[in-house]
């Protein structure tokens, strides 16, 4: 069979896609090292904007926003992962039960509903129940939309683990709880870790929902960047963006590697 590269027109199409996707990112990353204040002309290499991020006029604002982002991402990812693990166990190992299809749809709904709709709905929900918008509302919203992202790799991993391992454990005098703790859970770890990493990144990067439910005065890194950009794009924004990009790439790579290693030892 011919490889995909032999189809005429595929190569230029691929190149166009890659250019459109990655040129802006490369431009931002490159210009974050620009010595000049201009965002369009190159004035030599410098790390001044990285310095600006940590020590400049907006450093405290960004620092607080980064702290909020990271703590929210940690808590949201952890909580979502626990819920997603329980959900995956019920869905994959629970056998047939009433409403199984409905549960599956419910878990994955946030992936399909437009984010702006979730944002509006979440805001309306919080104001209806009288919850004051702020740190807590961001956290709750993040936990909710992180669940499907944590769920997918965990469920995929669990589906790859044959039921006979637990049966073998139970056959060898392990109780249900022991079979889960000693056999199933360790085998699930790669899926759980990559689910957590994915959820962490999704939470860290979220803008739309956060912007709706954050309330006045509360900022996460993406909303702080957006706020700053509204007054004109400065190179220090590029430096922050590049840093965030770096963190995202590291996390996604880690998730990929862990998952791959997990697959080698099924």
């Amino acid at each position: 069979m011919k490889g995909v590269r032999h189809y005429p027109g595929f190569l230029p199409l691929t190149i166009v896609c890659l250019v459109v996707l990655y040129t802006p990112l490369i431009v931002v990353a490159v210009y974050s090292f620009n010595a000049s204040t201009s965002i369009t002309s190159w004035g030599g290499f410098s790390l001044r904007w990285y310095g600006e991020v940590f020590t400049g006029r907006e450093a405290t604002r960004f620092g607080q926003a980064a702290w909020n982002s990271i703590t929210i991402a940690l808590m949201a990812a952890t909580t979502a992962t626990v819920i997603a693990t329980a959900a995956a166990l019920a869905m994959v190992r629970g056998g047939p039960f009433r409403g199984r299809q409905a549960s599956f749809a419910l878990i994955n709904l946030p992936l399909m509903v437009p984010e702006i709709v979730i944002a509006v709905a979440t805001l309306i929900f919080f104001s209806t129940i009288g919850l004051k918008t702020g740190y807590l509302t961001i956290l709750l919203a993040h936990i909710t939309f992180c669940i499907p992202f944590a769920y997918l790799p965990i469920a995929a991993r669990l589906e790859g683990i044959e039921g006979t391992y637990e049966q073998a454990a139970r056959d060898l005098y392990a109780t249900r709880a022991q079979a889960f703790r000693l056999i199933l859970l360790p085998l699930m770890v790669p899926g759980i870790v990559s689910g957590w990493l994915l959820a962490f990144i999704i939470s860290l990067d979220d803008f739309i929902i956060t912007n709706f439910v954050k309330g006045a005065g509360m900022e996460t890194l993406p909303t702080a960047i957006f706020g700053s950009v509204k007054q004109g794009i400065k190179p220090n924004i590029m430096a922050i963006s590049t840093l965030m990009l770096l963190v995202s790439v590291l996390f996604v790579t880690a998730a990929y590697l862990i998952n791959r290693r997990g697959r080698q030892t099924p």
Binding site: A169, R170, D171, L172, A174, R176, I183, L187, P266
Partner: protein
């Protein structure tokens, strides 16, 4: 001999589907007992009922007198060797073998020593600290055996454990399994669809089909005295000929073949009329002292054996197997031959 496993009227239904229709059998202590049948006959279901992975719909399962039908798998003193081994991939070989002992609360030193001895028994001591994925299929198989035997179960259940191995290894493992069973004195219940495996290892065999036990007996009994058409056809090769029963008395019958030949043979049926006669191909000989006459169609050379395909005078096909000895003169296609039937080589079957 005491009874290890006693199953009474075991029924298993999955919704509208019935996998087992009231199976009853008794397995003696220290016996190598095989459940043999084609896929879907219920043999694995029966094994899983004994292990406790499936809940019995109705009936009784007794293990050394104790009713275990409603116990959880970890409460039953039986261990299983799984078809795909199911070795824990994240644990070393020795930890796999020691797992059952650990769950039983045996102290670390004792369980390590015992697991080590089990590995010695299956000749894998040097692989104790490897991960299962680093072993070959045959080695994994032996680890699975050691793991299931380590907690010293009263009964060992084996679910087609040899099916994933290649032929040479499978044959070697048959001998090893049988030896292991004799050394340990543990009752083995072995599930397989491979009749050769069943015949070579088992003390007794239960032939199953469509959720029912068709016959229980030694290898010799089920091969030489099959009770019905299914057993005769499933175990070994056989010629099934339609015959008319003239007379039945005292488990012997006189039957007439369509070609007019008349044979008197042992019978598993007690009614007259149309029935099937089973003739084993190796129990026929070309001879002038003929019970049957036939015309040769083809001779197939099989190495140790010769297979002669012929049709009887009544038109029914018949196959015979001859030992490939120097004195045998090969029959030619088209040649008319007389066939002598050894005593006990034919048997009238119940349908």
């Amino acid at each position: 001999m005491s009874t290890a496993v006693d199953i009474r009227d075991a029924v298993k239904r999955y919704g509208p589907v019935t996998a087992l229709h009231g199976v009853s059998l008794t397995i003696a202590d220290n016996e190598f007992f095989t459940l043999l049948g084609p896929s879907g006959c219920g043999k694995t279901t029966l094994l899983r009922l004994i292990a406790g992975f499936e809940e019995i719909t109705s009936g009784e399962i007794r293990l050394f007198g104790q009713d275990i039908a409603r116990l959880e798998p970890h409460q039953r003193p039986v261990n299983t060797v799984f078809q795909q081994y199911a070795l824990f991939p994240h644990m070393s070989v020795i930890d796999n073998v020691a797992f059952g002992l650990k769950m039983k609360g045996v102290d670390p030193a004792t369980r390590r020593a015992r697991a080590g001895r089990m590995l010695e028994m299956v000749h894998l001591s040097q692989f104790a600290d490897r991960l299962p994925a680093q072993l070959s299929g045959g080695q994994q198989q032996r680890v699975a055996l050691a793991r299931a035997l380590a907690p010293q179960p009263r009964v060992l259940l084996l679910d087609e454990p040899l099916s994933a191995l290649d032929l040479k290894l499978r044959q070697a493992m048959r001998v090893e399994l049988k030896q292991l069973q004799e050394e340990t004195g543990i009752t083995f219940i072995f599930v397989t669809h491979d009749q050769e495996e069943a015949l070579t290892m088992s003390d007794r065999i239960a032939v199953m089909s469509a959720g029912r036990v068709q016959q229980i007996g030694t290898a010799r009994e089920i091969y030489e005295a099959p009770v019905n058409r299914f057993v005769a056809d499933f175990i070994g090769e056989t010629n099934l000929l339609q015959v008319t029963v003239e007379e039945v008395s005292e488990d012997r019958a006189t039957v007439v073949l369509p070609g007019g030949h008349r044979i008197t043979c042992p019978s598993a049926s007690s009614s007259t009329g149309l029935h099937h006669l089973s003739i084993r191909p190796e129990r026929l000989m070309i001879s002038d002292d003929a019970d049957l006459t036939a015309t040769v169609e083809r001779v197939v050379y099989l190495g140790t054996d010769l297979q002669v395909i012929a049709h009887l005078d009544g038109g029914q096909p018949i196959t015979l197997r001859l030992q490939n000895a120097a004195r045998v003169a090969l029959p030619e296609p088209g040649q008319r031959i007389g066939l002598h039937l050894e005593e006990g080589g034919a048997r009238l079957l119940a349908d």
